[in-house]
């Protein structure tokens, strides 16, 4: 790797946001190099300055952000001092960028073809037909089937993965020397994630394009990067070849980041062989049992009584209004014939890609979706109306930004469910609020703040507190950690486990992230296109999956984290 010549060198770069005479440094004196044809990863949590670093290289910093000092040399030219016109010529032709959110990063009113082609038109001179032919070729190169059709499509008509491929096609069509990919896979499903990363790697090998890959996800960085930089609070804390950096980290922060990666059964990984054998034997036994016509043993029957949630032949529909003239409602089935049950004190994981019906299922359980057929039996004492102290199942949502009312203080938000569901007096309510806020690891000080004054992790703690304050037995967690940084993720998962022990809670934990699922769940249910394709003990599912789809999911999750398994 060291033989490659340097393409980009960042020297002592400092960048700051000016805020009323005060200057907050967001990038603090960083230096690094990118060599020709290498993939370099920048990893760090949100606010670590990794995106700002990328934007200063391509010259797209927001107007409030100023370069304080340093140099960004590209091909021997200092990008910070060259003229606007010259920089514009470089942008797109020599340096291009792949953005995180492909939905908002494309113009919604122009076709994909027009937008990809535009890049080519700006930086080269061809005949009209040639432009189109080259664009279609570029779309085909990134693995989009039927590129002619894609050319005519609008961004909203493509899936997230397809859009991200189109974005890569757009960034690569002019054969730039450097592509900056800012969280290119964050918004995607695991299987799509690994495909997109594979595509970036392929393009890098085929065209010798250098890539700066920015991600908060160590696994993404590990999967394709030659070298990596770890950033924290605008500083580079550690850098080096990916392999060395992550197998033998020196810096405390890097160690912490690595430790926070959800690794399935990390503690037991040495014994994994034994577990595998054990499960294998158990499977054999069970197969024999089933052959013996499966006499229900008393223990199992007792278990059935402990079922807190029982779902039988559940079908959930989703109606769309007025597709046809005079609005004949068309009905789409989202969930097909699901049957499962959850025991008291258990954590059931539901995993699947977006669109598989996970969230629809959650909504059906808590009663937010009325168009259901089949049986949902919740046996937590609340629905029978006997014990008024217990509450109906509660839900914790993914997005702690969107699901807390921004105009109310935390104290009010936590008190509201008590007002609605209990007859407690003001004093009692406040006492409960004070108790629960400490329970989720915050202080009473936080009650006086607004949601916008809390961090993402704190907000998710509030969301958990709001769910638990009414004493539910069953809590549905819909992607509760998906929008959080890894270290915060680990904290929230720990909190959930502690609370479960303390209150004997039952969780239905929905996630697309298998690694998170394996960390917290006892049993896992794999959902694909609205059907349960596999349901097993977590460990069993991990070591011997049966269904092809589960295998594929595991493979993509592992592909990304293949390197961290041996830590």
């Amino acid at each position: 790797m060291t033989n490659y010549e340097t393409l980009l060198s960042v020297e002592n770069l400092s960048v700051g946001v000016s805020d009323k005479r005060k200057i907050n440094t967001v990038i603090d004196n960083i230096s690094f190099e990118v060599k020709k044809g290498e993939i370099i990863g920048i990893v760090g949590e949100s606010g670590s300055g990794k995106t700002m670093t990328a934007l200063s290289v391509i010259g797209l910093l927001p107007p409030s952000v100023k370069i304080l000092s340093g140099k960004v040399n590209f091909h021997g030219k200092n990008l910070l001092t060259i003229e606007d016109k010259e920089f514009r010529r470089l942008r797109g032709s020599e340096i291009s960028m792949v953005f995180q959110d492909s939905m908002t990063s494309f113009n919604p009113l122009l076709t994909i073809g027009a937008q990809v082609e535009e890049m080519l038109r700006l930086h080269s001179k061809y005949e009209k037909e040639e432009y189109k032919a080259l664009t279609i070729e570029a779309l085909a190169e990134v693995g989009l089937s039927k590129p002619q059709e894609i050319y005519q499509k609008y961004p909203h008509q493509l899936s997230g993965g397809m859009r991200q491929r189109a974005m890569i096609a757009m960034a690569m069509i002019t054969r730039p020397k450097l592509v900056i990919a800012d969280e290119p896979t964050t918004a995607l499903d695991v299987t799509t994630q690994s495909k997109i990363l594979g595509l970036l790697k392929k393009m890098n090998e085929k065209h010798g394009t250098s890539i700066i890959l920015i991600s908060h996800d160590l696994r993404v960085i590990q999967s394709i990067c030659d070298r990596a930089i770890v950033m924290k609070d605008g500083k580079i804390v550690e850098a080096g070849p990916t392999q060395e950096l992550f197998s033998d980290p020196e810096n405390e922060y890097t160690k912490k980041l690595l430790a926070a990666i959800p690794v399935p059964f990390s503690k037991n990984s040495i014994m994994s062989k034994d577990i595998q054998n054990e499960i294998f034997i158990r499977n054999l036994e069970r197969n024999e049992n089933t052959l013996k016509k499966d006499i229900p043993d008393p223990a199992e029957q007792k278990n059935r009584q402990d079922d807190i949630l029982m779902i039988k032949n559940l079908n959930v529909f989703y109606s769309e209004n007025g597709k046809r003239l005079l609005g004949k409602r068309s009905r789409k089935q989202v969930i097909h014939n699901m049957t499962f049950s959850v025991k008291q004190g258990e954590t059931l994981g539901i995993v699947g890609e977006s669109g598989s019906g996970k969230s629809t299922l959650a909504k059906a359980i808590v009663g937010l979706n009325k168009e259901i057929e089949g049986i949902i039996n919740i046996n937590d004492g609340a629905t029978e109306g006997l014990v008024s102290f217990l509450s109906k199942p509660q839900m914790v949502f993914q997005d702690p930004y969107g699901s807390l009312n921004p105009t109310k203080k935390i104290g009010w938000i936590l008190e509201e469910p008590l007002k609605l569901q209990t007859k407690l007096k003001k004093k009692e309510r406040l006492a409960k609020v004070n108790e629960i806020i400490r329970e989720v690891g915050l202080s009473t000080e936080h009650l006086k703040r607004y949601p916008s004054q809390l961090s993402g992790g704190q907000r998710q703690r509030v969301a958990i507190a709001a769910a638990l304050i009414v004493n539910p037995k069953l809590v549905i967690l819909d992607e509760p950690v998906s929008s959080l940084d890894v270290t915060i993720q680990a904290q929230i998962l720990r909190l959930l486990k502690d609370l479960q022990k303390k209150y004997n809670l039952t969780y239905v934990f929905i996630s697309h992230d298998l690694n998170v699922i394996f960390q917290i769940c006892d049993r896992v249910c794999v959902v694909y296109q609205g059907e349960i394709v596999e349901m097993k003990e977590a460990k069993e599912l991990f070591f011997c999956p049966d269904h092809e789809y589960t295998k594929e999911l595991l493979k993509s999750a592992m592909l990304i984290s293949k390197n961290c398994c041996h830590i």
Binding site: R88, S93, M97, F99, N107, P108, L109, M119, L122, L325
Partner: protein, 315 residues
């Protein structure tokens, strides 16, 4: 296509509903139209005969159907304020010509002036030209059109003598002269609306500039002007189109005060005089016209949306 048909169905249904509402509203208003038409001195027999003649003694649904049949043919009966000598349709048709040309001219002024001005202001965000435009729009937005009309009459009519105040020329007589005269009331109507549109377009453009796709366009190496025209403008125009359509409907409903100042025989003045003369046939017709204009313009806006925003179609 499906979308268009659906919108067309909505259009027809809403037109029908509004016609029912317009008709019934006038049945509830106190007052006897026979007495109204014939005067206080009419005898009982005269009143009866009149009711018979006009079909006023039939049931409500029958009268509605008859009225609607007439309305579809453009026949709203006769106007009482002109002693039943003038057909409502001719009356409205004459007045509508004035209102129509006033609307066309002022709307053209709004579009032609405010869109470039809005783009210019947004392009120079917070610069001196932008601040200047913002200040001017702020002032003109708050000036009432009739006062502006008086100022225009003073400056262009009396001082500069570009037109003779109050000397409205019938379009049938001399169409060129008519348009020349109409420019001045059109300006009076348009200026406050131009100011509003500039402000609205500017803020819509600035909001779009913050979005991710603009950053993508920048990363392609496009110039600022090109991004503004090719990427931002179309997106920013989406809310502005609704805004413009509402203004057009507003002008088409008649600009009473401006008509008064320039002594134009427009729809607004006809409406006012009909109301004060209890000329219900005319009022009813004008209300039906105004409501239809709003509904039809909304329909057209929906069609425009479908044309510029691919997300609307949703196949």
């Amino acid at each position: 296509m499906k979308y268009t048909l659906k919108k067309l169905a909505t259009l027809i249904v809403s037109l029908l509903i509004t016609s029912v509402l317009t008709f019934t509203a006038f049945q509830i208003i106190p007052g006897d139209s026979a007495l109204n038409a014939l005067g206080m001195d009419a005898t009982k027999e005269q009143l009866e005969r009149y009711r018979e003649e006009m079909g006023l003694n039939k049931s409500l649904p029958v009268r509605y159907i008859n009225w609607l049949k007439g309305a579809l043919k453009g026949d709203f009966g006769y106007s009482t304020q002109y002693q039943m000598q003038m057909k409502v349709s001719t009356l409205i048709k004459n007045r509508l010509t004035v209102t129509f040309w006033l609307a066309v001219m002022s709307f053209l002024l709004i579009v032609v002036i405010s869109i470039p001005l809005g783009i210019f202001a947004a392009g120079k965000k917070n610069g001196i030209p932008d601040s200047f435009i913002t200040l001017i729009t702020q002032i003109f937005m708050s000036v009432p059109p009739f006062f502006l009309g008086m100022l225009i009459t003073l400056i262009f009519g009396i001082i500069l003598k570009w037109f003779t105040p109050g000397s409205y020329i019938n379009p049938g007589e001399n169409f060129g002269q008519f348009l020349r005269f109409m420019i001045f009331p059109a300006i009076a109507v348009a200026v406050p609306k131009i100011a509003m549109t500039v402000k609205f377009l500017r803020s819509s453009l600035l909001r779009e500039m913050e979005l991710d796709y603009v950053r993508t366009a920048k990363s392609k190496g496009m110039t600022k002007a090109r991004i503004l025209i090719r990427h931002i403008l179309k997106n920013a125009l989406i809310p502005v189109i609704t805004f413009l359509a509402m203004m057009l409907a507003d002008i088409l409903a008649g600009a009473i005060l401006v008509e008064q100042v320039f002594n134009l025989p427009g729809l607004g003045r006809l409406l006012v005089s009909s109301i004060s003369n209890r000329d219900y046939a005319v009022v009813q017709a004008i209300i039906l016209y105004i409501v239809s204009v709003v509904i039809i313009i909304n329909f057209i806006v929906d069609l425009i949306y479908q044309w510029i925003d691919p997300r609307v179609k949703r196949d």
